[in-house]
Amino acid sequence: MTGRQTRSTIGMLAPATGLIAIFVLVPMVLTIGLSFTQWSTQTGFETASFVGLANFTDLFGPTSIGRDFRAAFGNTAIYTALSVALILPLSVVLGLLVHQTFAPGGIVLRTVLFSTYMVPMIAVALVWSKLYSPTEGPINQMLGWVGIPPQTWLSSPKTALVSIVILNVWQQVGYFTVLAVAGLTQIPRSLYEAALVDGASAWMQFWRITLPLLRNTLLFSAVIAVINAVQVFEPVALITQGGPVNSTNVMTYHIRRVGIERAQGGLGSAMAVTLMLSLIVVIVILFALLRDRGEQR
């Protein structure tokens, strides 16, 4: 490589790489290091004192630190599983409706679904907190029209977490629908034409052609949906503050409360490390389950 080439390579890469190194990679390494220390977030890094695995034994121990953490971890796991279980099938169904040219309205549907993805989560949380209102909200009113009794939604520990899942799915499903449409456009038309010749029904075509060929798209969607789900924060911070009775205390909210508000930086970092390791495990499992192994085609 000539000097000029080296200089321009460095010049082009330096701003983005430098910024990401300082503000993402360095904090990442620090999080791992701090997880083995006791450290107040309000003081400099030099005040951190090494405590070995003490933070981690606290997280999995019998004290209230462990109980609160495991509750938040469990809530996040349920929240993530529910979100993925709702988003993936919905994105395929909505994707088919957007993609089809049999009846009108596909593009309009895409625009509506996608515009919800542009709405700030804070506004989503505010609006849905009013929609869910047990007496003044339109959701219970509409349920009443079809004879379903009023639900407690955000005000009961049994239903609060699910209510937050629903509002989050509403906000995000448009993005995953567009991903599904992108996957659908990649499926060669000739496959369907051949299936028609063989007399396969639309139902058979969906299970034998569409779904198997969407495998990679669904894998990508599942990974993104999991990563998005562990980031849920605004509805919890704004409406429920983790309640009622800790039922909506999720990881992002809990880590911030411990690590920033209570300034227990070491403990919070240990929680962050545990979250990250769990995410890696989940993503590896998703790949193992869904990856196109090639032998089926």
């Binding site: 983005a16 910024l19 503000f23 989560m121 456009t185 990881m251 880590i255 920033i260 930086g265 970092s269």
Partner: protein
């Protein structure tokens, strides 16, 4: 609606009716929360409190919009949000173009290795780095200040990835010809490469603007309660605690409507590029 695809004549069968109605019903249901938000912002306080709820405002008025400005410093928050979103967006587009160009068109040692590390950061939830990042910006003297919101967000891996995908498609001949003419690499990037990846620039502009206009966790953390520097989304959250009763519903909805407008308007203009870019990064990536 059929005007959108004039080449197609829709058959009027029961199946056609069924699918059309389904599409319509889902679109209406999906739009409902936003429609409710706008309608509620036009209601009187009495209408907001009524049980069962009133759907249509009897005498639509903009009182809530004038009142909301008196409760939180709305103008200031809007300026703060605009500053955050515009500065980060411009910086992200520029840094991503530069790095994307290097990754797409230069050969250098460790290229794929470096790229893989950068891409891995795309999948890192922000909470994982939040605690040390808060201390780092503290060291840099950026806490309780808008700059603290902006500075850590001037580059991101997604932008680099998107630009690399698009710049790969720019013909090498075009670049080599400019080099023969003696153009500098920066001139080539901004005069030749950038104009040929305008759809990617449009998509990244929308992604970055919407993300940073809507972002809540980091500004809330780094601003340390300095209300002067709050973006609109944090000011909105203060509206709710200002008065927890239903009296306040109109105000909250008016504030939410205003906060939603900039990203949604931008989306209406740039929607096409956004969708194309998702196809480019999601499937072919």
């Amino acid at each position: 609606m059929s005007a959108m695809r004039p080449y197609r004549r829709y058959p009027t069968t029961w199946r056609w009716t069924l699918v059309s109605l389904l599409v319509l019903a889902i679109a209406v249901a999906a739009a409902f929360p936003l429609v409710w938000m706008v309608l509620s912002s036009l209601k009187t306080p009495e209408e907001s409190m009524q049980v069962p709820p009133v759907w249509w405002p009897g005498s639509p008025n903009l009182n809530a919009y004038t009142e909301v400005a008196g409760v939180v410093s709305l103008g200031r928050s809007f300026v703060n949000s605009a500053f955050i979103a515009l500065v980060t967006t411009v910086a992200i587009v520029v840094t991503s173009l530069m790095a994307g160009y290097a990754f797409a068109k230069y050969r250098f040692k460790g290229r794929d290795w470096l790229f893989a590390i950068l891409i891995a950061t795309m999948f890192l939830p922000p909470i994982v780095t939040l605690i040390p990042l808060y201390r780092l910006t503290g060291y840099l003297g950026l806490n309780a200040n808008l700059l603290g919101v902006v500075v850590p967000n001037l580059a991101n891996a997604f932008g680099i990835f998107l630009m690399r995908q698009y710049i790969k498609g720019v013909p090498d001949d075009l670049i080599d010809a400019a080099r023969v003419d003696g153009a500098s690499e920066f001139l080539i990037l901004f005069k030749i490469v950038a104009p040929s990846v305008l759809p990617a620039i449009a998509a990244l502009t929308l992604f970055a603007f919407v993300y940073h206009w809507n972002s809540y966790l980091w500004p809330l953390t780094v601003l340390q309660g300095n209300t002067d520097q709050y973006p609109i989304v944090i000011s909105l959250s203060r509206l709710l605690s200002y008065n927890r009763g239903a009296m306040n519903t109109g105000l909250v909805m008016a504030g939410a409507t205003l906060a939603v407008l900039p990203p949604v308007i931008l989306f209406v203009f740039l929607q096409r590029f956004f969708v194309d870019s998702i196809v480019a990064t999601g499937v072919k990536g």
